[in-house]
Symmetry: D2
Subunit: 200 residues, 4 copies
């Protein structure tokens, strides 16, 4: 029903995270109403993002720096504890953990999770890079696998635990149990079992 | 916490419909991962959208045409009933109504709804243009106010009804009543009253 | 896991409308905590309900009367319009419609809806009684089929329409269309079609 | 609108857990339709519940026994670990924990939680009885406070921790952390902090 130009941009926007064709169409109508200056600002911002923002050579977090710098502000911060490495699936998880202000080690962004141990899926993750980091950085003492306890996340965590075991570092997972506000009656059995075993 | 370039583009994306800062950040991380070619494709598509897609001079629907054409495919379709004008709030409503294949008149996209009859809000809508269309097109016999029966939509519909009354055309609203799948017990009183009065 | 007495009462409570085994168990724990006097009050109330409350001989609405009376307060009210008969599925629908204070005719409680025209299912409804009422009450001019526009409700309504047609009375349904607060974009196609056709 | 008998029983049913006036009315309509035999069965079952079912003299769990027995099947089970005491708010929590088959100690049903440390509220809970149990049963080595980590539950847990501290027993809470299926991004900060601190 839409014209080819609109159809094409709807297809492109539909690849954005959380965006479906209906929302993509709304983006198009929004863009249609913008002035040429406003549109230009968006185009320029996207270009600048790709030009100015680098990816940290240690943790893969996007960052911006005018200096010749390979490391993001977290990885280059001398106060952060270099003995801790928190492995996370995505960039948003880094923000989430930083916000609680309880972690002062470094991160490593894996780039996602896998639902099964298919080689093609595994290769999309930065697994080799993670192994390298740990081997090249003997100062790392504990690796925290801070991956979502979802089905995919558990598969990924289990794989990483086995893979990293021979490196002889302390490997931990985030604690499992009852979240704030939970009611025993509605908790799933696995969570309740974790809560009972992890009592303290 | 984000760098200035990222912050700026998050601010721009946050103005997109349905997008908040969290989703905007995900868009940024998505863009960061794209190849230069993929990014270029998005930039080019946005530019082409603004260049190729015109707004229909009758109904304000976006459309694309290689010819020198002012009217969208609906407004220029000789088979459509020129006696019917369906006034809708947004472009998406046009698609929604076209999809049910029951309406064969023309549309007029008002550009939104208002929550109160403040002059500043009213001026954002194409109210003058609507009046002009009706005055300049004596072939229009019925004006269907197909605006959401939400609080804002009702305010807007009521205002349009009063405004258009002197033009001596048939003015209708979409039928109110019980939607498919509704249960009397959970219907609000106003809807039930409409359903009882509109029985047939 | 529960003892036989508890299991039995859980089974009985689980047949109550909206109650599942988990809620039934909570009822049991609630009853366990009551004083003998409180328990006695519940038992007495249930007994009295069955003793004092009669079912209206016209509409099947439960009612209570110290006099020798066969009709509920609605059916015996001389001001109510005897020309209107509103056919509803359940007792709760009667309350729902009374609450909007727009209907002043009589009711007929069908006793449910059916999902298919199986004879065994149909016999659970008061279909013969409905036919009889209409035949024996020539003052009835309009029969309003106020059945939920759900799948089961539609099947039942359609069946009643065909069945009652030979009686040569005006037969109506509750109006279909957009409910208060609806948004076109999220309305189902059938509802939108009804709203467009029922515009006024 | 309802008759006095119906109104009274609606009021009584409305005190049942999870039941509001609308559901209570449905219960009444359900009862109205039952045969005298079915109604009698419900009345008899409630009477028998109050007659046959006792409350365990140790844990307050309802149980049924033909013998002269003061203890429920859990408390009188010689295989259960007498060193563990799991303090729970309600009877349903006992079932919930039994279902995961990981706990083999005894229980104590507190009878609820409190939202504030008001004396009048505290007296509704079996707090004195809990203290007595622990003092009179030196075999108890660990007291697990398995109370919901809701606002009320936390207030109650905190109060019990302080109260029981002088008794010099090991006092634990259920483990806090991420539940199965959780996503870091949507976890509340407190839960994430618990998950990070409780990593293992």
């Amino acid at each position: 029903m839409h014209s080819p130009t609109i159809q094409k941009i709807i297809a492109l926007f539909s690849k954005f995270p959380t965006v479906g064709p209906r929302t993509a169409a709304r983006f198009v109508f929004y863009l249609m109403k913008l002035s040429p200056e406003e549109t230009e600002e968006i185009l320029k911002s996207i270009s600048e993002l790709k030009k100015n923002v680098k990816t940290c050579s240690f943790c893969y977090n996007p960052f911006e720096s005018k200096e010749e710098n390979d490391l993001c502000s977290i990885c280059s911060n001398p106060i952060r504890n270099k003995g801790l490495l928190c492995v996370i699936a995505n960039e948003t998880d880094l923000e989430t953990i930083e916000k609680i202000k309880k972690y002062n080690g470094r991160y490593f962004i894996l780039g996602g999770t896998v639902s099964a141990l298919r080689k093609s899926d595994m290769e999309k993750l930065r697994i080799k890079e993670l192994e390298e980091r740990i081997k090249n950085h003997p100062e790392i003492q504990e690796i925290i696998l801070a991956i979502n306890p979802t089905s995919d996340g558990e598969t990924t965590t289990l794989y990483l635990e086995r893979l990293l075991k021979p490196l002889n570092k302390k490997i931990t997972r985030l604690g499992r149990g009852l979240p704030v506000g939970a009611e025993l009656e509605y908790a799933d059995e696995e969570t309740l079992r974790n809560a009972l075993e992890g009592r303290k």
